[in-house]
Assembly symmetry: C2
Homo-oligomer: 256 residues x 2
Amino acid sequence: LQILRKDVQNALRRRDPGPIRELVVKCISAGADAIDINSGPLNRNPESDMQFLVDAVQSVTDCQILLDTTNAKAMRAGLNACKNRPVINGVSLERAKLDQMLPLAAEFDADLIGYLLDAGSQVPTTEAESIDIAISLFNAVEAAGVAGNRLIIDPIVVPLMWQTGTQHNMAILSVIQNLPDVLGFSVRTIAGVSNLTTGNFPQRKKLMIEAAYLPMLAAAGLDMALLNIFHKETVQLAKACSVILQPTPFSWAALE
Amino acid sequence: LQILRKDVQNALRRRDPGPIRELVVKCISAGADAIDINSGPLNRNPESDMQFLVDAVQSVTDCQILLDTTNAKAMRAGLNACKNRPVINGVSLERAKLDQMLPLAAEFDADLIGYLLDAGSQVPTTEAESIDIAISLFNAVEAAGVAGNRLIIDPIVVPLMWQTGTQHNMAILSVIQNLPDVLGFSVRTIAGVSNLTTGNFPQRKKLMIEAAYLPMLAAAGLDMALLNIFHKETVQLAKACSVILQPTPFSWAALE
């Protein structure tokens, strides 16, 4: 639920839950397991804006909600509004963010996405550095009184066009694979797949490359993927990954 | 080049290279980097049959040829006929096969596919067993005077429908990833992807699941995949894997 979408923006301004409900219902029926509310730069009424958005989503689904804001007041309002356990999206080692968000995570016993970015919010350059950051995040989370297993790690997919893009995006497969051993429990992981193809390329090529990367992430053990749920082929491929990785008597049936 | 295809069979019987040339040209233009000649149960004239097939292929392409026969005479004829370095496809720890094929590999300095099957040609049940078999194969190859880096390992994809299908097919990703460390050089690997979906399922579901598995194999480090080159989506996805894993200035351009 991206505030940059005009329909979401207008619905928010008019306090009309209709278009948001419609969009969420479309997402859920397309296969979404959770909804990310990116409330953008909430201006005059960050708290009531976020509460309105959460209420609108919850009026049509019980699915998990990711609260995607850097505004601590909006985050608190969202956490208060959520009926089920929400996800704070998110923190990095940036001190200000940790100081604002960790107490909220503790107070609401919320899940919490931790980005593997350094204290200056830069992408690390080696696998070892990513692992070190994950350990630091885990320690910060526990020190703030948040249960360690509330942490969901985002290892940061970067554009392939970056000079180190291939190297980094391969390294994070190894990070995802090794994190449970490093942290000592089956820590959950999340990744934003579309970041891979940032740049001026034809949409069909972008989708093909994202489709190739998704199974690599899945095989490494990724738990959650942020993706455009209306790209039907990508969603089908995600389901096909499940047929391979977590087959059930009905998993083939879920394929179209 | 599957002898069970009626057109190949008839061409062979009539010693008419036309239909074979046509098929090979179609394979190459669809993106094939090598052609597997599965000559089936060659009856009266195994040697001249194989020579005819190799000649027919070589009359239209310089690509590498996999000689896929258990008949040692046909294999020798094929090796003799190949202008470029051929691939013997293949051996397992089965003693009879090793005794027949290893001397041929040594004599012709051919590449050689080694299947990770036990001495009774059964699929191993653990990753450790697969690794042990790879080491035994490597030792047998070197003992026969074949250069170790001529070996191409096939870790054996099994049908997902097998009781241990998921476990085994995930284990071989790890096998592919670890083999270079175990053997001490960047040993090449090959896999037959379509084996994954053996069973009575709709073709589009099979292709979707194969499409999900191919990037997993690629990320693990697989070098060669045996697949139906006429499944355009699968070939495109293989190219998309290259964009991620081995990008070149032109790799995006190779996508359609």
